[in-house]
C-alpha cells in the first residue's frame, strides 16, 4: 500500500540526501587523507606551521556550504508549499474523516456517512481523504507511515491532514507521540478498499448494534490498551466539533469532562 504523499516525502528526502553527499563524502575522505598524509610519524607533504589564512580559500569555504544551502532552501520553500498537509489533494471530492485520540486508541468518525469506528480506518483507494484531528487526552500524533507524514492531535484544537492511498491493501497507522503505558500498542488497522468494498464496509458498520452517544463515548474514553475494533452505526451530528468545544467552554469538570456532555 502506497500513497503519493509518502512517495513525495521519501523522494524529497533522497534528493536532498544525495545533494548533500556531493559535499559530505569528499569531506570525510579528505579528512582521513589529510590526517594520514600529514601525520607526524612518516607523513608526506609540506610543513607550514604558520600558514593560517588564504583569502581565496576562505571565500570557497564559505561559498560551498552557502551554495548548497541556497539550493536546498529553494527546494524547501517550494516543497513545503506543495506538500502542505492542509492542502486538499487534487482529484475527486475528498472523503472526510474525523479522528479523535483517546487513551490509547483512535476513534474515527465518518460525518458524511454518519458512522464511527474504534481502531479501524477504511479508505476508498484512489480517493483523497481529509482528516480532521483532535485529542481528548494528552497530545498525540496521527500517522499512517505507508501513506505519509504525521500531524499532532491536541485537545481543544483541530488539525488537518490530507492523504491518498494509491492501491488496495492493508497497513497500520498509529500514534507517534508518547502518551503513557498504552502508547506502544496504540495502533489502528488501515484498510484501503475499492469503491464498492468501501460501500460494503460502511454498510457493515451501519449494521452494528452499537451507536455512538454520550454513554458509549464515556465508556470508550476510559483508558484501555490495545482495544479491539468496534463499529458504531450512528454518530450524533456535530459530535467532533462538540468534543473540541467542550475544552473551550467554561463549565466542566477536570477529569476530561466526559460525564457532563
Amino acid at each position: 500500500m502506497t500513497g503519493p504523499i509518502a512517495e513525495a516525502e521519501a523522494e524529497l528526502m533522497w534528493r536532498a540526501f544525495w545533494l548533500m553527499m556531493i559535499i559530505i563524502i569528499p569531506v570525510i575522505i579528505l579528512t582521513l587523507v589529510v590526517a594520514w598524509r600529514y601525520r607526524a610519524s612518516g607523513g608526506k607533504g609540506d610543513y607550514q606551521p604558520d600558514w593560517d589564512h588564504s583569502r581565496a580559500l576562505e571565500v570557497v569555504l564559505w561559498g560551498i556550504p552557502f551554495a548548497m544551502i541556497a539550493v536546498l532552501a529553494t527546494i524547501v520553500w517550494n516543497q513545503t508549499h506543495r506538500l502542505d498537509p492542509y492542502k486538499p489533494l487534487p482529484g475527486a471530492d475528498p472523503l472526510r474523516v474525523q479522528a479523535i485520540a483517546l487513551d490509547w486508541k483512535w476513534l474515527f468518525i465518518y460525518p458524511d456517512e454518519g458512522i464511527g469506528t474504534v481502531n479501524e480506518l477504511a479508505l476508498p483507494a484512489g480517493r483523497p481523504v481529509t482528516f480532521h484531528i483532535t485529542s481528548e487526552v494528552a497530545m498525540n500524533s496521527f500517522m499512517i507511515p505507508a501513506l505519509g507524514g504525521q500531524i499532532y492531535a491536541m485537545a481543544g484544537m483541530e488539525t488537518k491532514l490530507n492523504l491518498l492511498s494509491n492501491d488496495v491493501g492493508e497497513t497500520e497507522g498509529r500514534n507517534m507521540q508518547f502518551t503513557g503505558d498504552g502508547f506502544s500498542d496504540q495502533t489502528f488497522r488501515v484498510l484501503s478498499l475499492s469503491e464498492s468494498d468501501f460501500e460494503g464496509w460502511t454498510e457493515k458498520v451501519r449494521q452494528s448494534d452499537a451507536t455512538l452517544d454520550v454513554a458509549t463515548f464515556a465508556e470508550i474514553s476510559k483508558p484501555s490498551i490495545a482495544a479491539p475494533v468496534s463499529y458504531y452505526a450512528s454518530v450524533p451530528d456535530g459530535f467532533f466539533a462538540s468534543r473540541i468545544a467542550h475544552f473551550i467552554g467554561s463549565e466542566h469538570s477536570h477529569s476530561g469532562g466526559t460525564q457532563d456532555q
Binding site: 509518502a6 513525495a8 516525502e9 524529497l12 528526502m13 536532498a16 540526501f17 548533500m20 553527499m21 569531506v27 579528512t31 582521513l32 589529510v34 590526517a35 600529514y38 601525520r39 607526524a40 610519524s41 607533504g45 609540506d46 610543513y47 606551521p49 600558514w51 593560517d52 580559500l57 576562505e58 556550504p65 552557502f66 548548497m68 544551502i69 536546498l72 532552501a73 527546494i75 524547501v76 520553500w77 516543497q79 513545503t80 508549499h81 502542505d84 498537509p85 492542509y86 492542502k87 494528552a138 500524533s141 507524514g149 500531524i151 499532532y152 485537545a155 484544537m157 488539525t159 488537518k160 507517534m176 508518547f178 502518551t179 503513557g180 503505558d181 506502544s184 475544552f247 473551550i248 477536570h254
Partner: protein, 653 residues
C-alpha cells in the same frame, strides 16, 4: 496524628520505597551502596578534613572544575546504564513484554535524557570551562569565585534529586522534554514529574549564574593585551555559550516553574481545560532547548579547535572565520526553535521559513569543519587520543549534520518526526559532537590538572570502542525511523525491526567497553603516574597560556600576570626562546578563602526541591530561608581573601 504526619512527611510514605520491581530495587540498592561506599571509604582513609577543606568548601575555579567533571562522569555512568537497559529492552521486546514493565521503561528513557543533558553534558562543559578559561586568559580566578561555588552546588543539588528519585519515589515518565498536558497532574499524578521539574529548575539557576560569571570573567579578567581577537578559540566558544545560557535558561526556568504551578497549585497554563495551551510550553521549552544544543556544542567546537591546532603543530586555520562562524551560530540558534514541532499544523510559510533558518546554521558549521580540515593540512598530525576523538568527530559529525538538514525539510520532518530517525540524528550530534569533544578536552587538559598524562593506549582503545559502538548503536536507528518506528517504544509487533535493534544493542555493549576503557585508562594512569608525569607543564607542545605554567598550577595560577600581544601567546614565546612576557607587578596576590556558602546553598536548594516534590512545605520553606539567610550573612563579610606570596605559600592578610 495522621494530620501531623502529613504535615511532617507530606505525601511521602512507605509506598515510596522501590519495592515495585526487582530492577528498580536493584537500581536503588546500587545507588545507596555507591553513596555509602563513598562515605565509608572517606572515613576509612580519614580524608574528611582533606575533602572538606580541599574540595567541598573550595572556591578555586580549577577544583570546582574538577568536581564538575567528576559529577559529569558519575552521571555519565548512570545515564549509560539507563541507555543500555533501553537497548536491551527493545532488542528483546518484539511481540513480547521484554523484561521491563512499561512504567519502568518510561522512567528510564525520561531519566536517560534528563541526566545526559542536564547532569552529564552541562556539568562536563561547566567543568572544562571552569578549569580552562581563567588559565587561558591569564586570570587568577573567575570574576565571582563564591558565586561559582554556588553554581556548582546548585547543579549538584539537582543531580542529588535525580539520584534520590531512584530510591525514594519514582522518576518522571514524561520524557526529558516533559510535554504537557501529559506531564500535568491529570495524566501523571505522583512525584515523578515533580522530581524532573525541581532537579532541572534548581540546577538551571546554577547554570544561569555560571553564564553570568563567565561572561564577566571573559570580558573583565583577560590578561593585559589580550584583545578579543587574540583570545584562544575555546574562550570564544565559552563566551558565546555563556551568552546563550543567560538568554536561553530563563525560558526553561519559566516554563518549568509554570508547569510546577499547574501541577502543585492547580493553575492552567498548559492544561487541556480552562484556557491552558500546551503549545505555550512547547514554544518556551524549545526557545531554551534549541540554543541549549549550541550551548553544549560550541565549547566542544572550541576544544576541537585547540586540539587540532596543538596536535597538528600548526596555527589554527581561519581563526577570524571560526570566530564569526561561532557568533553566527549563537545568534541563529534563537531563530529555529519551531522546527521541533513542524507537525503542529502551522502553515507552509511558517514551516518553510523555520526550515530554511535551520539550514542556514549549516553554513557556519560547515565552515568550521573546513577550517579544522585546513588546520591539519600542511601540519604535522600526532594521533594522540584527543586528536583521534577530533578526527572521529569530523567524520561522524557531518553525517549528523546531513540528517539534521533532512529533518529541517518540513515535508521530510512530517514523515520522520518522533521516529528513531530523530533519535539517531540528535545522538549523532551529541555523541561525536559534544561528548567526543568533552572527552578530548578531558584527556587534553588532564595533565594540567593532575600533573601526569593519561595512558595513551587505553585512550586509543576507548576511542575506537566509542567510535564503532556509536556507529553500531545509532546507524541502524536511521533506517528504523524510515521504516516508521516511533521513539519510546516499550514493545513492538514488527519483526523487521528486531534485527536492527539487536545491532543497536551490540553497539551499546561496545560503548560499555568504551566506558570501561576510560575507567581503565584512569586506573592505569594513576598507577603509572610517575612514568607519565608532566614535569614541564607543557606535555603536548601547547600553544596557549595554560601550558606556560606548572602542572598542576598553584592556587593563584600565575605568579606574574602575563602580557599578551599575539594569538597562541605561549607558542610565540617558545618560538622566540623567551618566557612568556609579564609585567612587573607589586600588588599583592589575593586568593579567595574557602567558604561554606556554596555547600550550604546547595543543601538549601536540595531541601527546597525535596520539600516541594513531596509537599513537605516546612522543609521547602526552611530551605528557602536557609538559602536567603546564607546570602545575607555572607554579604556582611568583607574579609574573604587571603594574600599569598608565591615563594612562601598562603598567609592570612
Amino acid at each position: 496524628m495522621t494530620g501531623a504526619l502529613s504535615v511532617l512527611f507530606g505525601r511521602l510514605g512507605p509506598d515510596a520505597l522501590p519495592f515495585y520491581s526487582w530492577v528498580a530495587f536493584g537500581g536503588a540498592v546500587v545507588t545507596v551502596a555507591g553513596g555509602l561506599g563513598f562515605l565509608i571509604l572517606v572515613t576509612w582513609l580519614r580524608q574528611w578534613r582533606a575533602l572538606w577543606t580541599g574540595w567541598l568548601t573550595t572556591v578555586d575555579h580549577k577544583r570546582i572544575g574538577i568536581m564538575y567533571i567528576v559529577l559529569a562522569l558519575v552521571m555519565l555512568v548512570r545515564g549509560f546504564v539507563d541507555a543500555i537497559m533501553m537497548r536491551l529492552q527493545q532488542a528483546m521486546a518484539y511481540d513480547s513484554g521484554g523484561y521491563l514493565p512499561p512504567e519502568h521503561f518510561e522512567q528510564i528513557f525520561s531519566s536517560h535524557g534528563t541526566i545526559m543533558i542536564f547532569f552529564m553534558a552541562m556539568p562536563f562543559m561547566a567543568g572544562l570551562m571552569n578549569f580552562v578559561v581563567p588559565l587561558q586568559i591569564g586570570a587568577r580566578d573567575v570574576a565571582f569565585p563564591t558565586m561559582n561555588a554556588i553554581s556548582f552546588w546548585l547543579t549538584a543539588a539537582g543531580a542529588g534529586l535525580m539520584l534520590i528519585s531512584l530510591v525514594i519515589g519514582r522518576f518522571s515518565t514524561a520524557g526529558w522534554t516533559g510535554y504537557p498536558p501529559y506531564s500535568g497532574v491529570e495524566f501523571t499524578p505522583g512525584v515523578g514529574v515533580d522530581y524532573w521539574i525541581w532537579s532541572i529548575l534548581i540546577s538551571g539557576v546554577g547554570t544561569t549564574m555560571s553564564g553570568i560569571n563567565f561572561i564577566v570573567t571573559i570580558f573583565r579578567k583577560r590578561a593585559p593585551g589580550m584583545r578579543l581577537m587574540l583570545m584562544p578559540m575555546f574562550v570564544w566558544t565559552a563566551l558565546c555559550s555563556s551568552i546563550l545560557i543567560i538568554f536561553a535558561f530563563p525560558a526553561l526556568t519559566v516554563a518549568t516553574a509554570m508547569l510546577a504551578l499547574d501541577r502543585t497549585l492547580g493553575l492552567h497554563f498548559f492544561t487541556n481545560e480552562d484556557g491552558g495551551n500546551l503549545m505555550n510550553y512547547m514554544n518556551l521549552f524549545w526557545i531554551w532547548g534549541h540554543p541549549e544544543v549550541y550551548i553544549l556544542i560550541l565549547p566542544a567546537f572550541g576544544i576541537f579547535s585547540e586540539v587540532v591546532a596543538t596536535f597538528s603543530s600548526k596555527r589554527l586555520f581561519g581563526y577570524p572565520s571560526l570566530v564569526y562562524a561561532t557568533a553566527c551560530i549563537a545568534v541563529l540558534s534563537f531563530t529555529v526553535w519551531l522546527h521541533h514541532f513542524f507537525t503542529m499544523g502551522a502553515g507552509a510559510n511558517v514551516n518553510a521559513v523555520f526550515g530554511i533558518a535551520t539550514m542556514v546554521i549549516a553554513v557556519p558549521t560547515g565552515v568550521k569543519v573546513f577550517d579544522w580540515l585546513f588546520t591539519m593540512f600542511r601540519g604535522r598530525v600526532r594521533f594522540e587520543p584527543p586528536m583521534l576523538f577530533t578526527i572521529g568527530f569530523m567524520c561522524l559529525f557531518v553525517i549528523g549534520g546531513a540528517s539534521g538538514v533532512l529533518l529541517a525539510i518540513p515535508p521530510v520532518n512530517y514523515a520522520t518526526h518522533n521516529t528513531t530517525f530523530l533519535v539517531a540524528h540528535f545522538h549523532n550530534m551529541i555523541i561525536p559532537g559534544v561528548l567526543f569533544g568533552y572527552l578530548a578536552g578531558y584527556i587534553y587538559w588532564f595533565p594540567k590538572a593532575f600533573g601526569f598524562r593519561l595512558d595513551r593506549r587505553w585512550g586509543a582503545r576507548a576511542f575506537w570502542l566509542w567510535l564503532v559502538g556509536f556507529l553500531l548503536a545509532f546507524m541502524p536507528l536511521y533506517p528504523l525511523g524510515l521504516m516508521g518506528m516511533p521513539r519510546r517504544m516499550e514493545t513492538y509487533g514488527n519483526p523487521d525491526w528486531q534485527p536492527l535493534l539487536i545491532i543497536a544493542f551490540v553497539g551499546a555493549v561496545l560503548i560499555l567497553f568504551g566506558i570501561l576503557s576510560l575507567a581503565m585508562q584512569l586506573w592505569v594512569s594513576v598507577r603509572d603516574r610517575a612514568a607519565l608525569a608532566d614535569t614541564t607543564g607543557d606535555p603536548w607542545d601547547g600553544r596557549t597560556l595554560e601550558w606556560s605554567m606548572p602542572s598542576p598550577p598553584p592556587a593563584w595560577n600565575f605568579d606574574n600576570v602575563p602580557v599578551v600581544s599575539t594569538r597562541d601567546a605561549f607558542h610565540a614565546a617558545k618560538a622566540s626562546g623567551q618566557p612568556v612576557r609579564t609585567e612587573p607587578d607589586d600588588t599583592p596576590i589575593l586568593v579567595p578563602r574557602n567558604t561554606v556558602v556554596g555547600p550550604l546553598i546547595g543543601f538549601a536548594g536540595f531541601c527546597v526541591g525535596f520539600g516541594a516534590i513531596w509537599y513537605m512545605w516546612w522543609l521547602a520553606l526552611a530551605g528557602l530561608i536557609l538559602g536567603v539567610a546564607t546570602l545575607i550573612v555572607r554579604s556582611f563579610f568583607d574579609d574573604t581573601e587571603d594574600e599569598v606570596d608565591p615563594n612562601l605559600g598562603a598567609r592570612t592578610a
